[in-house]
Symmetry: C2
């Protein structure tokens, strides 16, 4: 881990690191916030997965989560959304290729050698951090849009690795959406059976979640037709999945929305990860 | 209004009255709680509509709402769930006839002359109370099970009369449920077009609600298949209806569930009716 920057922030420390990723086959950059509590003990971790076009930097600078993490004593990790660089395949569209990894392991050319964001987040980066930072084994996961999709699908496929999950404006039913079908076809191929494990609505129906789930959605979200919250809402209710699904008047898809409800999410994870509310 | 009983309760007063109802054509009994604030000024009103088999008494004695109403300064009104008496039609089943009015105006024999609970709640009882008690024009409405159905459908059909709405374990899609189809057929006849205005899922799709909606549901509700929360959840999300839909692990359909989340509902209405949270 090579330190790129370090800034004091709400009594803790906001850092950016680069490291050589074996899984993705290129150097990867991520941001991590350590709250003041981490100076004296190991703290739980909240992963924040970002949306299309984002790097590690967007949420770090715009979501305002550090102030709440400092109060509740959580570390924050902000991974990138894809591998990057001249050696990495890309597409002209904003929603495919670099900046659009969809938190899956690509099986198709030209994506396969680098686009392994599922393994990167679930295994490699977690392992790297566990040895290098004052964090403990309690991990929660959240994210926005494509990152909300990542948070929900990763949590439901790895229930023993995560103690809490939430999402802001997540892509909830990508197998039935233009934010999903195009990418899954490219990354995973045309056998739609392989897509299901990356669809939160399918997973909530088949796997469910061992705890409760918090999802916030803006009613004026300009991308809501691509997110399909109605599909997940129906499936969660049909399963009797413990959850809190909130639709907020006037809010859109932006980071202003994420910031407005960020404290609720940090508090949600803190309560479930170390009983602090 | 003939006073039947009066009890001091959390610094306010819990009373039961009987009156001759023009709309229902028989004497009707209801309960009303006035918080301590009502001794010096008029207060907003929260209507609580009860479920199948209940009278005015069940929630009054088991929901524990008075303690919260006393803090938040709301009056509570608990109407009966149907007309009653030897002159009133009935059925051997618990879910039709007396105790099962479904908050509609029956158009079919033998129910029509007495089963006019929609007009009774929306118009007659409200008018009666407005002149007799220290309440103001800010009214919210909630209820449990069949009463949650009543609260949601009455609110959505009368948006100018109610400033807030919530429900506990409501019957949400009665036109597609055995808690609904049987009763609507009996009370309203076989023309299903007349049923739609008594179905919260239809109304949320067609009318929506001018504010936000709070609904709490127990995941272990023994009647959940009859309530169809998944239908409403899908419709509300598709409409982008501002709302908070919560599914709570382990809770069932009982008044223990209502009591457990009663404070949240009283606070919800208080904030929307007079800006107190």
């Amino acid at each position: 881990m090579e330190l790129q920057s370090r800034n004091s922030c709400f009594g803790g420390e906001q850092a950016v690191y680069t490291h050589a990723s074996d899984v993705c086959g290129v150097d990867m950059t991520f941001a991590v916030y350590l709250p003041p509590q981490a100076s004296s003990r190991s703290v739980p971790v909240l992963w924040y997965l970002s949306g299309l076009t984002c790097t590690h930097e967007n949420a770090m600078t715009k979501a305002g989560l550090q102030q709440h993490a400092a109060v509740y004593g959580l570390a924050l990790v902000f991974p990138d959304t894809s591998p990057r660089g001249d050696s990495v395949a890309d597409d002209e569209a904003y929603d495919l290729g670099q900046g659009a990894g969809f938190y899956l392991n690509a099986t198709q050319a030209p994506w396969k050698p680098h686009f392994q964001m599922y393994d990167y987040v679930v295994k490699e980066l977690r392992g790297l951090l566990q040895g290098a930072l004052p964090i403990n084994d309690s991990h929660g996961i959240t994210g926005h849009s494509m990152g909300g999709h990542g948070a929900l699908t990763i949590a439901m496929r790895n229930p023993t690795r995560y103690g809490s999950v939430s999402a802001f404006s997540p892509i909830l039913n990508p197998t039935q959406s233009d934010w999903g079908r195009k990418q899954f076809s490219s990354y995973l191929g045309d056998d739609e059976c392989t897509w299901a494990q990356h669809d939160a609505t399918v997973l909530i129906t088949e796997n469910g979640w061992h705890g409760d789930i918090l999802i916030d959605q803006g009613a004026d979200d300009q991308f809501i037709d691509l997110l399909r919250p109605q599909a997940f809402a129906e499936a969660a209710a049909a399963r009797r999945q413990p959850c809190v699904l909130r639709t907020h008047a006037n809010y859109d898809h932006s980071y202003f929305f994420v910031a407005s409800f960020g404290e609720d999410h940090v508090a949600w994870h803190a309560e479930r990860l170390h009983g602090m509310s």
